[in-house]
């Protein structure tokens, strides 16, 4: 008996989604432990010995049991819908990521494009949340969010397009295959510059310190999610971490050779996860060591530095590919 293809896809998507949720939960634990070590603390410890391995579960339970408060003056529809609109694109980005050859939901031939397009959709939910809350902090944060996402999506896309050009394909699995000889991060000059630009744009796209002006808890309290509580807050938080993890996977896939690594083929997913976590930890490391910069400075960095730089880099990559042909080595 063979399953109809639609059902097969649905089952894969279900598995990936659930694995993802667990992974996201434990990524939060990883970040908390990592941050704690940086700050000479221990971090979560008592909920689930050793080292608080039950902490994410406890957090999720706590948030589920919290009272869900809807501000009287909020725009109810927009306010209630926003967490979902925010979460769905954040989870959808995993659809095109292959975790190993033939292991993924859908290895589209325009995988990278799909990822980039969907991941910038989160801004809609974010703005809805900021607007619907009818709170000045949230409104200001939503305005900042739009500014920032527009400014940083372009460098993010340009940086991500460099490996696409080098591989000569937008299909994620093809990009990995093209890195068999040489990971793109090791590609002379272009690879490193593109990786750095990608990381910086990632920080901004994920709203992490030093670019977390939308959350900016010392100015805007919690930004667009200041009015959210309980499960809605949990959804936003989940979406944020899922987005972060998705971007880390993308970084590992575009620059660090995806599932390529020593050992038998079945180790592939583990290599991939390891690399994604490494990218995630680099981002976390930056997050916990920098101070936030101002909104005008963020925009200046993007428009005056990052955008022209990535554009030039993309052009240079085009020349190189025209001369040498696509592919690593």
């Amino acid at each position: 008996m063979t399953l109809p293809p639609a059902l097969g896809h649905a089952i894969t998507a279900f598995i990936v989604l659930n694995a993802l949720l667990v992974l996201v939960a434990y990524v939060t634990l990883l970040e908390r432990k990592f941050a704690a070590r940086m700050q000479s603390r221990i971090g979560p410890y008592y909920v689930g010995r050793p080292h608080g391995w039950l902490q994410p579960v406890a957090d999720a339970l706590k948030l589920m049991m919290k009272e869900d408060i809807i501000p009287a003056a909020s725009d109810r529809w927009v306010y209630n819908l926003a967490p979902l609109v925010f979460l769905v694109p954040c989870l959808l980005i995993f659809a095109t990521i292959p975790f190993a050859p033939e292991l993924g939901v859908a290895d589209l031939n325009i995988g990278v494009l799909f990822f980039l397009a969907v991941s910038s959709l989160e801004i809609v939910g974010l703005f809805m949340g900021g607007w619907g809350s009818n709170n000045k902090y949230a409104l200001l944060s939503a305005m900042r969010a739009v500014n920032q996402i527009i400014s940083y999506d372009l460098p993010f896309i340009f940086a991500a397009l460099v490996p696409v050009l080098l591989a000569g394909s937008m299909q994620m699995s093809a990009i990995v295959t093209a890195q068999h000889g040489l990971w793109f991060v090791a590609y002379p000059v272009i690879g490193q510059l593109a990786f750095v630009a990608f990381l910086v744009a990632t920080l901004a796209a994920e709203n992490r310190v030093p670019f977390d002006i939308l959350e900016a808890e010392s100015e805007l309290v919690a930004g667009f999610r200041v009015e959210y509580s309980g499960m809605k807050f949990a959804l936003i938080q989940l979406g944020e971490y899922a987005h972060m993890l998705g971007t880390s996977f993308l970084g590992a896939l575009l620059f660090l050779g995806g599932w390529l690594g020593p050992g038998p083929v079945w180790l592939g997913p583990f290599w991939f996860l390891l690399k994604a976590v490494l990218v995630f930890l680099v981002v976390t490391w930056v997050r916990w060591s920098f101070v936030r910069i101002r909104v005008d400075q963020i925009l200046a960095i993007s428009w005056k530095l990052l955008l022209p730089a990535t554009l030039i880099l993309l052009m240079a990559t085009g020349f190189v590919v025209a001369l040498r042909g696509p592919g690593g080595a």
Partner: protein, 384 residues
């Protein structure tokens, strides 16, 4: 379903937005309310509201006796409790012309300077917390600073049994002498902190983001600083080398070698630099005072037996000390009884805070918290 409430968002003409910062706000450093008028992200007006932490300190000073009040005085500036105690007892001693033994004077200097270190630790931590966020690099600096502040507080705990409000000073001297081995521990503490200071500087000054957030932000000109009457690191960051310890040495400060750091830029970075140098100068003073600590009594007055024991002749006196935040003054009028007839605090934070409406407008919202943090107010001292 109830009628939907309509909330006025406060858009005035010219697309202005009124936004409340505080009294309950993550970076209001206590309970301070700023009503900001925004045009987009730019602040065009600021209305500062104080008084949320008013506890009738000056009235308390008139109802409590000279024996009781020093431990209440520490509650004005609770981050640097030692200096407000010192200001109070100095004022009383001035009126009554009580002698203070040299050992007590040195002890006062040691605790005052340790207190400055502890207070600046908290300032650096919370300021970075304001700029870097509780979920970012700011929190890292904050926790490092708290770790160092804890060490100083441990020393104070060994000395007085208290960690925040000490009651160390009393009229005529100090209440406690050093426990055995304390000076060695203090030396270790300041050595440790001195080594950490280099780390902070490396972490912050070599960080471009920190520099762009602080340089040229919240500039207080020399004229403005003098006109408003700011003191402490604020006025020294604006190019005026004014320090009460140097201008009018009290409590044996004349015996020690130390520098008064002055920066001319007047921005947040200048104030940061001034405080970073003050850290080191305080450590220097602590070491000198420990080296030269004379033997002898710690108080010229008999031990406390009753609350009305200290009587001060008729008269009035004003004593000022250099607190961590600037000039802390205490003015007392005595009618000859066991209590002050009138008393008035000059809080350093209160005068420093008055500069905010002059320097905040024109900056972005994010700069408001950076400027607030660099002013380093403690609202116990502002509202009293």
């Amino acid at each position: 379903m109830p009628d939907k409430q309509v909330v006025e968002l406060g858009y005035g003409g010219n697309e202005r937005l009124m936004m409340n910062m505080g009294p309950q706000h993550p970076s209001s450093h206590g309970v301070f309310r700023m009503i900001l008028t925004l045009e987009g992200e730019t602040v065009v007006g600021v209305d500062a509201v104080i008084g949320y932490l008013h506890r009738c300190h000056e009235k308390l000073g008139e109802t409590l006796t000279y024996v009781q009040y020093p431990s209440i005085a520490s509650k004005t500036d609770y981050v640097a409790a030692m200096t407000s105690e010192l200001a109070y007892v100095s004022a009383v001693e001035k009126i009554a012309k009580f002698e203070v033994p040299r050992r007590a004077q040195y002890l006062r200097v040691i605790v005052a300077e340790l207190q400055r270190i502890a207070s600046h630790c908290l300032w650096l931590g919370t300021w970075c917390l304001d700029m870097g966020g509780a979920l970012g690099g700011g929190a890292t600096v904050f926790l490092y600073c708290i770790r160092e502040r804890e060490m100083v507080l441990d020393r104070f705990e060994e000395l007085t049994g208290a960690r925040l409000l000490y009651g160390f000073h009393q009229i005529g001297g100090t209440r406690y002498d050093l426990p055995p081995g304390w000076d060695k521990k203090v030396r270790e503490t300041v050595d440790f902190i001195e080594a950490r200071l280099d780390e902070y500087e490396a972490m912050l000054e070599e960080n471009t983001f920190f520099r762009v957030r602080t340089r040229g932000v919240g500039v207080i000109s020399r004229e403005l600083a003098q006109a408003v009457g700011v003191s402490g690191p604020l006025i020294r960051g604006s190019g005026v080398g004014y320090d009460v310890r140097r201008a009018e040495p009290y409590s044996s400060y004349g015996d020690f070698n130390f520098e008064v750091p002055v920066e001319t830029a007047g921005d947040c970075y200048a104030r940061y630099r001034v405080r970073m140098v003050e850290f080191r100068q305080s450590i220097r003073i602590v070491r000198q005072a420990l080296d030269g600590l004379p033997q002898g009594p710690i108080s010229s007055r008999p031990g406390v037996k009753s609350v009305g024991q200290v009587r001060v002749p008729k008269g009035e006196g004003y004593a000022r000390v250099e607190g961590a935040r600037g000039e802390v003054g205490c003015y007392i009028v005595s009618d000859g009884g066991p209590k002050a007839y009138r008393m008035k605090w000059r809080g350093a934070s209160f005068s420093n805070l008055a500069v905010l409406p002059h320097i905040v407008p024109g900056h972005k919202v994010a700069d408001v918290v950076a400027i607030m943090g660099s002013v380093d107010p403690v609202f116990g001292e502002v509202d009293r």
